[in-house]
């Protein structure tokens, strides 16, 4: 736009907005720095016991010695399991939702079962899953799937069933068959439902994977956390938790970016 076209009031307004944004960001950064500094100082002064509360400098040290604890391998394993569980959950979720949308009868039959399964805390199934699938990566992926699948099915089916009736009627006036209605109206109309459910799903898959790793206890960040706790190596626990939150944030952003690409 032409620079002259911007009025003075507009400039003042824009500047105010910018200052406000910077102020918020500054305070946020200060809070993080303050928290870390306080933690470090209190630990150094011996007011909090760094043996059970760890300490930022020791976390950094653990972080630097990546190879000592095979940290990278564990991160890799957790990521792999999460992505597989997440992908399977999305794929199966959509597939089941499509089947249930297709058959009104089936969806009515399935309804109470879905509701019960949805409210069941899936972690309770952990021991059963391990016995059935075996204590390994398989069980962990099944765990992630168990946690995310039902929510995905319910959410996507709900989106499908709430597709604008007028659009469906319009398609019917051209004598569209069910397959055409599905591929040309229902699915494209629900892209945003789908992306939203992926956003929820990535978090749920991580919950599934970490709790699976707790139970199976062989590898991954979840295993490291449990192991660190058992041998009282709180530095390792804290480091793992921090890495985990970074992994979670990156994966979430990945989904957000994917959503932006798809919705363009």
């Amino acid at each position: 736009m032409d620079k002259k076209a911007i009025s003075k009031d507009r400039m003042i307004y824009l500047r105010k907005q910018k200052i406000n944004k910077i102020a918020i960001l500054t305070v946020q950064i200060l809070i993080v720095i303050g928290f870390i500094a306080l933690w470090e100082i209190l630990a150094n002064l011996g007011i909090i016991d760094s043996f059970i509360a760890s300490q930022p400098s020791r976390i950094v040290k653990t972080f630097m010695n990546l190879s000592e604890n095979d940290l990278l391998t564990h991160v890799g394993i957790t990521c792999f399991e999460t992505i597989i569980g997440f992908g399977l959950g999305a794929l199966l979720g959509v597939l089941i939702a499509i089947i249930l949308w297709w058959s009104n009868f089936l969806s009515k039959v399935a309804d109470p079962f879905l509701v019960v399964l949805n409210s069941l805390p899936k972690i309770a199934l952990g021991p059963v899953i391990i016995i059935w699938v075996g204590a390994g990566m398989g069980a962990i992926i099944v765990m992630a799937l168990a946690i995310s699948l039902i929510v995905t099915v319910l959410e996507i089916l709900n989106g499908f069933l709430n597709t604008d009736k007028e659009l469906l009627k319009m398609a019917k006036t051209f004598n569209a068959n069910k397959m055409q209605v599905l591929t040309k109206i229902v699915i494209p109309a629900n892209i945003s439902t789908f992306i939203n459910s992926l956003k929820v799903n990535i978090g749920l898959s991580l919950v599934g994977v970490i709790s699976g790793e707790f139970l199976v206890s062989k590898a991954g960040l979840g295993y490291l956390i449990v192991y660190g706790g058992q041998v009282f190596q709180l530095d390792l626990v804290m480091t793992s938790v921090i890495i985990l939150s970074i992994v979670a944030a990156i994966m979430y952003q990945g989904v957000v970016i994917l959503g932006k690409i798809v919705q363009k």
Partner: protein
Amino acid sequence: MEDILTIQKVTKTYQAKNGELEAIRDVSFSVKKGEFISIIGPSGCGKSTLLSIIAGLEEKTAGDIWIEEEPIQGISEKIGYMLQKDSLLEWRTIYDNVLFGLEIRGKKNKKSKAYVDTLLKKYHLYEFKDKLPSQLSGGMRQRVALIRTLAVKPKILLLDEAFSALDYQTRLMVTKDVYDILKNENMTTLMVTHDISEAISMADKVVVLSNRPTTVKKIYDIDFEMEKRDPLNCRKSHKFSQYFDCLWKELDVHG
């Protein structure tokens, strides 16, 4: 001119959980090629039901409907149906929206696309063909929806409150645009509307329906003795207010 559409003793009884509901009873009238028929009636009397039956979306309980002497069965390719909402698909460009019907019927080819191009050019939408529906005004969207319906070359067009979602000014303008398009294409049209003025301004005949169970109460011939009808200008004619008064009385809440 011969009749293109004949409706004879059409009856519709809905089956619902709380019993039967006789929506229409023994409705009969016929329509000539190129005619514009407006249908008015009290709200909830069964106007939409009647159009849905003609379109084949709804089954009739009794009676017969012929198009060009053939009884209709199910959804007929000879019928174009335009609803109140434009129902454009927001994720498709205007061009792909207009092609939707052809695509569904498996008739998207060079010839039909060329026809769509002519329609878009003729009605000043060609330059917007790569835009998304959200970038168009309500009036333009409605015209796009009309061209989507015309693209499949129906013999008869059904309009159900097609303009009632638009604001008054846009509505007057779109009414004129649509009228010109339809007369240009010599389209036979049945339009359901709540708006008596709109009904008169476009119609060759106005069919007045009664309360439920709906029957045909009266059919008015509308003629402004103008050389070329203009749905805006004819509103100024003294005949317009006469027709309006008649229809208003006919629609009397107690009738």
